[in-house]
């Protein structure tokens, strides 16, 4: 059993994943993905506990043996300049930029603080609210109120307050005088003296507007998913919604896990929880007991196989490969990867695959050709 785990990605999500894995006793290999990265991932072969992560390093093909793969590539923030309908104006800045200026002298926030300016913050001006943007705006509102003594308004179309922590923060902010308003469809109108923003309760005038940048899935997800034998959902995030897999960081390929914003709408604390969840699952999985085969498995009769590749293309779990044995190449089911779903059996054009294992229903044992 290989206890080396590959963590794909850079940034906070990947750091969390690596830290959580190390705390569970795993060794971690960090893999940077992207066109300029030193290691260009091409395929993931093998099965949980015994993967070979193949790719190009300095132009030559190399393989890394790992027990599991954790993807923590995060998401992307959309720059405000990419938001076509948003007026481009000096009074409109991203909340990220505002947050980064809080500690700097002679910054816009420092001036706002000096002049007791009114700062408005939007959570979801252009796109659906995300937990990340909600958290960012709530945090920033508190800091602007407490440290800068500014007048602060928070504008939202949907206020996703779904943790105790956030609920308390919002309550405290309201008590401290931060106004919360529901946004109207109209865009903010900046002019020389300020910005007018329409909301459900009327309109307000602010000196500055902080817009939380929308999040979007990374555009290299399809290529990454193809290399790893997993899928991308319709929304562009890794692993389509599935009740068995979605909340647990799992994918349809055993031993390939997802952490953080590459698959979930979450904030930093959510990423930490997710990383811990995945690491603890891997700790169970990457022990001998955890990789016990399922009670039903597909089994290929090598003598019947015509190497048509249909089963390999059908399997949603990357559990079938072509393998050489005794001088014959034939489809071979990787027992540790097989979910026993039998999808390949029904598609096999020569009836070369059947079910094996203790839990095969009796009628199917009789029906086997």
């Amino acid at each position: 059993m290989n206890e080396l785990v590959a963590v794909i990605g850079t940034g906070y999500d990947a750091d969390c994943a690596a830290q959580a894995l190390r705390s569970h006793g795993f060794r971690v290999e960090r893999i940077v993905q992207g066109p300029s990265a030193p290691f260009q991932l091409s395929t993931l072969e093998g099965y949980v506990g015994s993967f070979a992560l193949r790719g190009f390093c300095d132009g030559s093909l190399t393989a890394l043996s790992v027990g599991a793969v954790v993807v923590a590539t995060g998401n992307e923030r959309v720059p405000l300049t990419a938001l076509k309908k948003l007026p481009q104006h000096a009074r409109i800045v991203s909340t990220k930029q505002l947050a980064s200026q809080l500690t700097k002298p002679a910054s816009i926030t420092e001036r706002a603080s000096r002049q007791r300016q009114h700062i408005a913050l939007t959570i979801d001006l252009m796109t659906p609210a995300s937990r990340e943007a909600t958290r960012e705006v709530i945090d920033l509102a508190g800091q602007l109120r407490d440290k800068c003594k500014c007048e602060v308004s928070v504008l939202y179309r949907e206020l996703q307050v779904d943790t105790d922590w956030l609920e308390k923060r919002v309550r405290d902010l309201r008590a401290a005088g931060v106004a919360f308003h529901r946004l109207q469809a109209a865009m903010p109108e900046p002019d020389a003296e300020g910005i007018t923003i329409r909301h459900a309760d009327g309109q307000l005038r602010a000196d500055l507007l902080g817009v939380a940048q929308p999040v979007r899935p990374r555009r290299d997800h399809p290529a990454l998913a193809e290399a790893l034998g997993i899928r991308v959902g319709e929304d562009g995030y890794l692993q389509p919604f599935n009740v068995h897999l979605y909340h647990f960081g799992g994918t349809a390929r055993k031993g390939v896990y997802l952490v953080g914003r590459c698959h979930l709408d979450t904030d930093d604390s959510g990423v930490r929880q997710d990383a811990e969840l995945v690491a603890s699952q891997l700790a169970v999985l990457l022990t001998v007991n955890g990789t016990q085969p399922e009670a039903v498995l597909a089994w290929v009769d090598r003598a019947k196989c015509i190497r048509c590749l249909t089963c390999i293309r059908t399997c949603p779990h990357s559990a079938v490969e072509l393998a050489d044995a005794e001088g014959v190449t034939a489809a071979h089911v990787l027992e540790a990867a097989c979910f026993g779903c039998g999808m390949c059996i029904a598609n096999c054009p020569v009836q070369a695959i059947s079910m094996r294992g203790q839990a095969v229903p009796a009628w199917l044992q009789e029906a086997a050709p």
């Binding site: 349809a252 949603p316 779903c341 039998g342 029904a346 079910m355």
Partner: protein
Amino acid sequence: MKPYLVLGCDRSASRALADLCRTGYVLPDEVEYRTLPCSGSLDVLYILRAFEQGFERVLVLSCNDDACRSLDGSRRAAQRSARARTLLSEVGVNPRCVSFRQISPTMAADLCIWLDEFVQPLPAEAEPEKAE
């Protein structure tokens, strides 16, 4: 020989049926229930063989689309059921004799209703059903 066959996914239909049976429900005499490890293993042949063996009607029960642990199982089960209907209608079997439904493990009550419907005579055909 029982005339009606249910092919149900082990991860949803079989669990719902087990729940139902715990309440004292007994499968109708005319119904034989066979479990599939995943509805993705449903083979067109299983349905054809059932009719060859003398079953008169087949009901396929699969998980909901986003609840198949193997992602494509429910979609494949639906498509293979449709294929079986097309093939059977080509040999003169009423395609409505094959039905397909999606179920979750918690839908014991629905299952009870469906099984009840399943054993009722087929309603008279208003118009020829379009092949799916």
